[in-house]
Symmetry: C2
């Protein structure tokens, strides 16, 4: 009997291989055979660790989104100025978006995958956690009398919708592979609007 720890590390290896393929080409364009070949293993062996492609995708999504949420959390715990850290989160968002753009985990371009209830609920959960983190930060800003007496939940939702909307503008001018400049332009716009937004909810005494 092999150790659980070795099985886990093999799973980890597969995940990393899958992420490499997924994020260079897309999920749709990478085959299970390619992932197996990259790792010099057979396809059935892959299926020994992951029952099907969907569960592999979900595991990948879980890993990546955990990394993302951890990065935000890290920023919030290590920061003092509330509004500065909110701007930093925008940068973190964009780093991740750029890095894992090809996965199209955000938009519904991965049509077929997104019919899967598990993936849907995973992403819903991530969005919820993300929202909770940002909301906590905004609530803290309110507590510090930095912000006006706003409805924290609603304001947070607006803030996030605004960012997402600006993000979508990138996909709207749908070149199959969006140029690097497009990402940077989006980031820039998001930062500018966020600054105005934060000014808009800032207390002015």
């Amino acid at each position: 009997m092999n150790s659980k720890i070795e099985t886990d590390s093999k799973r980890e290896l597969i995940l990393e291989g899958a992420i490499r393929r997924f994020s260079h080409f897309s999920i749709q364009k990478t085959t299970m055979n390619e992932i197996a070949d990259d790792l010099s293993m057979s396809k059935p062996n892959l299926y020994y660790y992951f029952p099907d492609k969907t569960s592999l995708v979900i595991a990948v999504a879980e890993k990546i989104t955990d990394e993302y949420l951890a990065a935000i959390d890290e920023e919030f715990t290590n920061s003092d100025a509330v509004d500065e850290s909110l701007l930093k989160v925008i940068i973190i968002r964009n780093v991740f978006f750029k890095k894992y753009y090809m996965l199209h985990i955000n938009d519904g371009q991965t049509e077929a995958l997104f019919k899967d209830e598990n993936l849907r609920s995973l992403m819903a959960g991530v969005k919820e956690k993300e929202l909770a983190l940002i909301a906590a930060q905004i609530r803290e800003g309110k507590r510090q009398n930095l912000f006006k007496t706003i409805d924290v939940e609603k304001t947070t939702a607006l803030f996030m919708d605004m960012l997402t909307g600006l993000q979508l503008c990138i996909g709207a001018m749908k070149s199959p592979v969006p140029a690097a400049e497009a990402f940077d332009e989006t980031l820039h716009k998001q930062l500018e609007v966020a600054r105005i937004f934060l000014d808009g909810i800032r207390r002015n005494d």
Copy 2:
């Protein structure tokens, strides 16, 4: 020889018929035959007034966007409070978006059509004019010392991008025919964020 005025009124009749079809079903789903039949005329007769479908579409787009720009202009000339009129513009935008949603003049869903250079430049011109109108209003707000010393052009662009982005969120949850609630939710979000945005650029003495 028939009068020019009669020819023009016939063109107008055709335009109205086309708009009716286009906005109930989409541009793609309405055929030249359907438009002709609606008006009890033959297809070749239609082609006597419009050389091809594209030029008919462009004429329709021109008519509608003129109506839109006129509505904004009207609002701006008849208003006194700058920020109030900016919020009203959001409502006007949404009325038009809802009314002519099926035309998909905004987004690039009308793929084929949008390869047409004439239509592209028309829409670019409309966007430019729209931007100029809003910019004038924001500039007026600045002149009245209502707003901070901001870069009017950049701020206007951000304001519009923010609205467009929020608009796109509607299409992101792409149900083929978006529910009426979705429109209203978008309008509501746009108004809320716009209020915060305007607070953000407002002078606070």
